[in-house]
């Protein structure tokens, strides 16, 4: 070894080790970046590109963005799709509806998820893992199957109606499926774990003696909750809410299966443009517009989170 060094020759392994020390960090960081570039940024750019073209009966069904005319590249940008989104009230309504449904679902999820997360965080050691397990358990079944199960529960001849008719509380079946109510049930049920888990992790980290200190200084239990527990669990509330809100805005399967024909959501509109109308440019611009709508809350969330982390240091 030492003689090798003196002669300035290195074994292959030593060379590799030195190279890793120098460039290892770049490599480790680079792999996920490369992954994101390939499977996120490139598809995004393709969609962005399509959104600026015009629909055509061709293969692919849109005009090319870059054209090779007279030994020069001509770029034809078409903003018409975006203008069309604004002019046709269908899209605006769909966006607003999606945001409304997602927002209400998020609030309901929070109201149900918070007490559950709190209960789990304050449970005894072994009980806690059992409860957490129960929260995660539904993920072991396909999402689609679980949504179909709700059809069986909410349907005209479904479980709830059958039971209520049998007890005689109602004589006519309730219309629950194909309503907005069913969409709320579906979204809240599906996304509840995404609310509970981040809430649990913040509540579990919280020092119980903080609440005791508040009680000791004269707070009634609900005041201690409002003044101490709630503000300190804000990062969890934010994380959970965004994890529910963002996918709920673009949700397609739940409104399609549980919602009625009147439940207009942007996910469904997008689907129709792509597969029914085969208007890829419009569909792409719908997707891009939705992304812009959602990027703002994500950036805001990250901003809050960095501030929180700085505060804890």
């Amino acid at each position: 070894m030492s003689s090798d060094k003196q002669e300035g020759r290195l074994t292959l392994k030593q060379r590799f080790d030195r190279w890793m020390i120098k460039h290892g960090r770049v490599l480790v960081v680079g792999i996920p970046y490369f992954w994101l570039f390939l499977f996120f940024l490139v598809p995004f750019l393709i969609v962005l590109k399509i959104s600026f073209s015009v629909a055509e009966y061709a293969q692919p069904p849109y005009t090319p963005l870059f054209e090779w005319i007279d030994e020069g590249i001509t770029v034809t940008l078409n903003f018409g799709n975006y203008l069309f989104l604004l002019s046709d009230s269908l899209y605006v309504t769909a966006y607003l509806n999606s945001i409304r449904i997602a927002a209400i679902s998020t609030v309901i999820t929070l109201l149900i998820g918070y007490p559950m997360a709190y209960g789990i965080a304050r449970a005894q050691g072994s009980m806690r893992s059992v409860l957490l397990m129960l929260v995660i358990l539904p993920f072991w079944t396909s999402f689609l199957i679980r949504v179909y199960a709700w059809i069986g529960i909410l349907d005209r001849e479904g479980l709830i109606n059958a039971f209520l008719m049998w007890t005689g509380i109602i004589s006519e079946p309730l219309i629950m499926r194909q309503t907005e109510f069913a969409v709320y049930v579906g979204i809240v049920y599906t996304y509840l774990p995404f609310m509970i888990l981040p809430l649990y992790s913040t509540l579990e980290k919280m020092d119980v003696s903080l609440v005791e200190a508040a009680l000791d200084l004269g707070c009634k239990p609900w005041q201690a909750f409002a003044k101490i527990t709630l503000p300190l669990s804000m990062p969890g509330i934010l994380a959970g809410s965004l994890l529910v809100f963002i996918p709920a805005v673009g949700e397609f399967v739940i409104p399609e299966l549980l919602g009625g024909p009147n439940t207009l959501m942007i996910g469904r509109t997008l689907w129709n443009e792509f597969f029914a109308n085969r208007d890829w440019p419009i569909a792409s611009s719908v997707a891009i517009a939705m992304l812009l709508f959602l990027v703002v809350p994500i950036m805001w969330f990250q901003h809050i989170q960095t501030k929180q982390e700085e505060g804890q240091q």
Binding site: L210, D216, P231
Partner: protein, 388 residues
């Protein structure tokens, strides 16, 4: 902030002037009456009765799991006793929730609210009570002045050092002028130097505000420096209650003797019992021990003689009188601590005895060295005799 000699003296004067625990007419401020607390099958506190008087700085001392914290938490209202009664200022505390008790607590972790500034933390209790804004401002300023944290009023807890957090926690728990301030290991999170300094500070502040302090600690030095009285706890039971002086000089059991300071315990049998003296023969130490007072018990009973290391004399030559209170052995270990030296002497019987000696004069070389044969002797009044 080091407390001045005058203040220290005043503290001691007051403590000695008013020793309500020695006054049969004095009414206790806090009273535990046969309090038991069970967690499942485990007795955290087992039938404890204890009186604490007004203006005391009372320490509950014991190792971990001895029940001292549970006792404190029952006083604060975080735990309800399984049986027994707790009175504060004559009022039965049964069913009174923590937020209505006249107590405030300083938590071991300080439990400062991380999302509030120092000022807001200290003001919290007053805001809760609906005190007017101007009054809160005044009281908070005063309290921050008392704990010397005025400069840091706008800071958040995470921007403070451990010692500063401790002061804020103290200010926050004192601002409502509780009848009783509860301190859970108040200095546990501080390093040694800061701890010593803060001990006196706390006593000084207690003196200024006149609140009754009840503190929990596992540190015997902390308890002895600060407390007017100490209750030594073990396995949910109070072993002995008394002033630091009483506990050190007159321990009632081997547990107390061992817990407070260092001690050599020598097992022996009572062989001569008189009205004025007693003699205990110890096979363990290979000597006879003469005690200058009567011992309650009969001849043949087993006793333990407690000898503090600093009350033992170590000499190279045999003392004139070697019949009683005198053993010889070999120096096995030496600890030179500057101010004092400790010697571990292995007796002929195999028992090891610890002796400390002040280094009151400067020496050219150590007085004794390893394997030296030495004599260890003590006065008839140095020993206390324990029967448990």
């Amino acid at each position: 902030m080091l407390v001045s000699e005058a203040v220290l003296e005043r503290v001691h004067e007051d403590v000695h002037k008013t020793q309500p625990w020695n006054n049969p007419d004095a009414v206790p401020y806090i009273r535990f009456e046969n309090v038991t607390k069970k967690f499942g099958d485990f007795y955290a506190v087992d039938d404890v009765s204890l009186d604490i008087y007004r203006h005391e700085l009372f320490a509950l001392l014991g190792g971990s799991g001895c029940g001292k914290t549970t006792l404190l938490r029952m006083l604060a209202g975080f735990e309800e006793p399984t049986s027994g009664k707790i009175y504060i200022d004559g009022v039965d505390m049964a069913g009174v929730p923590a937020y209505e008790r006249p107590t405030n607590m300083m938590f071991q972790s300080y439990a400062l609210f991380p999302h509030m500034s120092v000022e807001q933390n200290v003001a919290f209790g007053l805001v809760q009570d609906g005190v007017s804004r101007s009054e809160i401002k005044e009281l908070v300023a005063e309290m921050l002045g008392l704990v010397q944290m005025s400069k840091f009023a706008k800071r958040k807890p995470h921007q403070l050092s451990g010692g500063q957090r401790q002061r804020v926690a103290l200010a926050r728990s004192l601002i409502k002028r509780p009848k009783v301030l509860l301190l859970d290991e108040p200095l546990g999170a501080l390093d040694k130097k800061l701890r010593e300094q803060t001990q006196f500070e706390l006593v000084n502040i207690q003196e200024k505000v006149g609140t009754t302090f009840v503190m929990v600690t596992h540190d015997q030095e902390e308890a002895m420096t600060m407390a007017s009285r100490i209750a030594v706890m073990n396995e949910g039971v109070i072993n002995q209650t008394g002033t630091p002086f009483e506990l050190y000089e007159y321990p009632n059991s081997r547990y107390t003797a061992n817990f407070l300071g260092q001690v050599n315990l020598i097992e022996g049998v009572l062989v001569d019992d008189d009205e004025k003296y007693a003699v205990i023969k110890s096979d363990e130490a290979g000597c006879e021990i003469y005690i200058d007072h009567a011992v309650q018990g009969h001849e043949g009973m087993t006793f333990w003689v407690a000898l503090r290391p600093e009350r033992l004399r170590i000499t190279k030559e045999a003392p004139k009188e070697t019949k009683y209170n005198c053993v010889s052995g070999k120096v096995e270990e030496i600890g030179y601590l500057g101010g004092i030296s400790t010697y571990h002497v292995r007796l002929e019987s195999g028992k090891r005895i610890k002796v400390t000696e002040p280094n009151s004069t400067r020496q050219i070389e150590p007085r004794y060295t390893w394997e030296d044969t030495v004599w260890v002797s003590w006065e008839a009044g140095a020993a206390s005799v324990l029967n448990k």
